[in-house]
Symmetry: C2
């Protein structure tokens, strides 16, 4: 029964690895929700908690890495099990980045709360809610190894990119009309970029789930609709 | 001689893996140099080449991943060899992100070249040169498994963060004084952020090299001096 024992131990370790990934994803989801809330309500205390909360996510990434390397070394997994562990390593790395970006949003929230007037944070809320729901779906797709849901996440990333591009243009125009808001809008643009990047990483995780479930990456290139790098708003004097 | 033969084949595969990482790092270094050049000289052709050149880096990441997974599955490596392969996976992932950011800089270069007047791109050049030399050192540290050089890279990241923070403040002030430059300066700020992120990823690679050589991560937290999230420039009317 030594083999049976070993297999059971390996399964238990894989289950623990999955649980650690889910815990990490749960923390990321909560950090993002709190960071968005801190940003839109100018809540410095909440933002400060998010900033200090990132350490727990970094710690989990290190634990997942150690678990994965241990499993690779001791269990010498093949095929699906090997993909499972490689996917865990990659997903943990993406989650760690997502946590960093939630922290970045919180840092901008602190700065914005200290400004004499708040720029229009409302424009961000659709984008924030969409990315937050992508992160929730990502958690569910991983837990249920749901390739169909992973594909849906991948498709929604294009919407977020398009929203970010339009927001970028809107804010440029707004800064020209209201120079007193330049500092606030610039920080808000970077917060928006961080949220957009969280969506990108959720999409990477969705692709890792597809690889894990199907054994290969999707063949079609994913949509890239973040055209903000090319967005231009000319000052009124030049347009006339 | 079956064991000797297997060891020799494994060594050859590891050497091929190292060579692939170095090729990827070389491409990233070249892409960054060209992107910086395109940005400071407003050269759209060069920027366009950088944008399309990113596909080769993505392709190499996939090859390195396939090689690593193959080595993990077939060779069941232990200790240093296992760290070597895990480090390769992580370094390739960082290099892929660095390539993306070089592409982002090139996209901003295209947009800036199309504006009626260029914002002061010169302020970026010190930062760009510093990050470029970090990337060169990173390549050398990996090739020579040089832990001392990897530590130097890690320490230089703080300088880049500090330069970016000061540049962020400078550009906010500049935009207030020159609203016609808001679009240009905003794109330049994002280009600066991409360059700063390339420095972060070079530092991650340096940490991967330390892990690979020493078997553990450095104990001291690395310096984080990017305080740009908190930078505020108030419009003249509010300061008076």
């Amino acid at each position: 029964m030594v083999v049976g024992h070993t297999v059971a131990a390996f399964d238990a370790e894989l289950t623990a690895l999955h649980a650690a990934i889910d815990r990490m994803a749960e923390l990321v989801e909560r950090q993002l929700a709190e960071a968005l809330d801190a940003l839109t309500t100018a809540n410095v205390d909440k933002a400060t908690q998010v900033i200090s909360g990132d350490a727990a996510i970094d710690q989990l990434e290190m634990e997942i890495e150690a678990m994965s390397i241990r499993l690779l070394a001791l269990r010498q997994p093949m095929a699906k099990d090997l993909r499972d562990i490689v996917a865990a390593l990659k997903i943990a790395s993406n989650l760690e980045r997502m946590g960093d970006f939630a922290g970045s949003v919180a840092k901008r929230a602190v700065t914005l709360a200290g400004l004499p007037t708040l720029p229009p944070v409302g424009s961000l809320s659709w984008m924030g809610r969409t990315v937050l729901s992508m992160v929730g779906d990502m958690r569910r797709a991983y837990a249920e190894q749901d390739a169909a849901l992973a594909t849906v996440i991948r498709d929604r990333d294009g919407e977020v990119d398009a929203a970010y591009t339009s927001l970028f243009r809107e804010f440029l125009t707004y800064m020209m009309e209201t120079p007193a808001q330049i500092t606030g809008c610039t920080h808000l643009l970077f917060a928006a970029k961080s949220i957009e990047r969280i969506g990108d990483h959720a999409t990477n995780v969705a692709e890792n789930i597809l690889y894990l479930v199907k054994g290969h990456l999707p063949l079609e290139e994913r949509h890239k609709e973040d055209l903000s790098s090319f967005a231009v708003a000319l000052p009124p004097v030049l347009e006339s």
